[in-house]
């Protein structure tokens, strides 16, 4: 399994998502049609899952090292989160957003096939590697979803009628996403103790991960204190996501981070 095979797998995934989504959208309360759409979307997710598994086997290491590889996981988890949310709360638009974003990530990977390498530096060879990164990616997927919801809420607020349940959905996503974010941070600390000698060294990635964590903490406290306020938490959630994005991508471009084990790529 090489990167070369990616277009085939990604193509099948992409097509089943589009087809499934169209069926779900235009089912007009026709249960069998909607069910078929759901199954086809799931099929797309499974195909992508198979690709990642095969990639893992062929690389002989977990495909979690380069940005392109993490985008793959993102494309896997985002539709999954979207699907569960849609199933629970019946937001079709949310599923569509999640899939559109995941499709975008697949497209980026298709246009920039990365150099792969089987090599994995000794600092990353640890049983902590997989749980640490997967928990983080899952959390990012949920928090990204919460920010999408916040943007939708802002759109409603300014151009339509605001529905309070939008904010409740955002809360649910943030709570679950935040619990994973906390676990990822703590797993990272426990791993760092084994690999670097100390659980916290203010490595640039740690610093920004901590800032991300604090941002969502502010949102959660604000919501508890003034649950009736709408505009401020919606904006806060959008800002928190910017911090998360700096932590996720921005770190690769920070000159101070050039020696960090958290800088991916070549």
């Amino acid at each position: 399994m090489e990167w070369i095979n990616f277009p085939a797998f990604a193509g099948i995934t992409f097509l089943s998502w589009i087809l499934g989504l169209s069926l779900v959208y235009f089912s007009r309360k026709n249960r069998p049609v909607e069910l078929a759409g759901q199954l086809i979307i799931l099929l797309g997710i499974i195909v992508l899952g198979i690709f990642i598994t095969l990639l893992w086997i062929s690389l002989d290491r977990p495909p979690l090292r380069t940005l392109g590889e993490t985008r793959l996981w993102y494309s896997l988890f985002l539709p999954l989160v979207g699907f569960v949310t849609y199933f629970r709360w019946r937001y079709k638009w949310f599923l569509a957003y999640a899939i559109a974003l995941a499709g975008l990530f697949l497209l980026i990977n298709y246009m920039h096939p990365e150099n792969y390498s089987k090599t994995l530096m000794p600092a990353l060879q640890s049983p902590w590697f997989v749980p640490h990164v997967i928990v983080y990616i899952f959390s990012y997927a949920l928090l990204a979803a919460s920010s999408l919801v916040a943007l939708w809420g802002l759109y409603q607020l300014y151009y339509r009628e605001f529905q309070p349940r939008v904010l409740f959905l955002a809360d649910n996503l943030v709570y679950v996403g935040f619990s994973f974010l906390t676990l990822g941070l703590l797993f990272g600390g426990l791993w760092a103790k084994e690999a670097w000698g100390h659980y916290w060294t203010w490595d640039p990635k740690e610093t920004w991960a901590f800032l991300t964590w604090l941002s969502y903490l502010v949102y959660m406290h604000f919501r508890t204190f003034q649950p009736k306020k709408v505009k401020a938490p919606l904006w806060a959630l959008s800002v928190a996501f910017i911090v998360l994005l700096i932590c996720w991508f921005g770190i690769n471009y920070l000159p101070s981070a050039s020696n960090s084990v958290h800088v991916y790529g070549n």
């Binding site: 990167w3 920039h112 096939p113 990365e114 150099n115 792969y116 390498s117 089987k118 090599t119 530096m121 000794p122 600092a123 060879q125 640890s126 409740f168 809360d171 649910n172 943030v174 709570y175 679950v176 935040f178 619990s179 994973f180 906390t182 676990l183 703590l186 600390g189 426990l190 103790k193 084994e194 690999a195 670097w196 000698g197 100390h198 659980y199 916290w200 203010w202 640039p204 610093t207 920004w208 901590f210 800032l211 604090l214 941002s215 903490l217 502010v218 406290h221 604000f222 508890t224 204190f225 649950p227 101070s256 070549n266």
Partner: protein, 409 residues
Amino acid sequence: MKRKTWTHPWRYRESFLVVLELILLGLIFEVITGGKGAPQLQWPVNLIVGLGILLSLIVIQTKLKNRPFVKWMSSIPAAISAILFFAMVTLLLGFIRQDNPEAGRFVHLLGLSHMKNSWLMMVSGLYFLVTLGMVAIRKSWPLKRKNLGFLLNHAGLWIIIFAAYLGSGDLMRLHLTLTEGHEATDIAMNPVSRQLYELPFSVELRDFAIEEYNPKIGIVDGRTGKLVDNDGQVLLLIEEGMKARMLDWDLEILKFEPNSFRAESEYFASDSFGAAPAALVRAVNTASGEERSGWISCGSFLVEGQPLELNQHRFLVMTEPEPKKYSSDIVIHDRNGETVPLTLEVNKPHKYKGWKLYQISYDDRWGKWSTVSILEGVRDPWLPVVYTGIFLLMAGALYLFWIGREIKE
């Protein structure tokens, strides 16, 4: 009706004014002490101060809990202001280059070049601990079942920050530089202060080894000296017998020697000090059918590398192999004559009598032929307390995941 500032109950306005005062306080302390940062407390002073803080929080919360000021201390506006204060200090840490010897005098005087132990960090940490501690104590007495998740999260975080901050003065991280064949040593150095310490045991290096991945090959443009992009596949891991296409060349690795020396135009296997990997390659141009073959090598500190010219500006080159594993076979000699042999690897440290030993570095001038290994010895007596907090917070995170937000509609 507009509420007057400083009338109770205090809310955001007062909380942020308190933070502003604390910022000024932190900066003033830093300037008074000449930009030396806050003192790091050591055993047993840190324990006494810590217990003092904990006790006063408990006393204040239980005896004076109806005072408006005490109520404010455990309120959400105070919490939010504390989180944002802590975030601001962290943000400064994330943007300003730390421990920069070229930092301006003013930056240094305000503590911005050493945020980690600045007065600003100390003040914000303390404010964070006070607000967090007060609310944790309030919710823990009387203990209600519905507050369990809340308590796990708040108390867990409190214990982590409390112990990590107080314990930082007792943390020892020392480097041990060992050479194969030398006698055991118990002298270790603090890499920052360059101060020497004597360990309660000595360590002898029997063998240091680096295992490497095979090197990679790539095509370099002779004019720029840069690797040529091959549709994303810039480099290929060498394996004997491998066939691959790069740009318009079909490549075949006829032979691969991980350790070799050159004699005339050939490379021969050799495990002598300074040997380098080499590969015999055949390249056939897919368009013209031109054939090139020859040895390529990345060289080592001792011998030069060897590229293979493909055509005018294109060269086939081998990159230096990447490390797969660093390991040190060591023997620890106790003062009582006890000897413990063990192997250290990256990510596989070993505990010994309150110390944890890590494989940290080697003499990179000699690459895999280095006979020097650098270990790190870490002593952190507060670690069990920090771990207690970490596990409480983990349990709290799982609780949060399971229960989610209790929606009050």
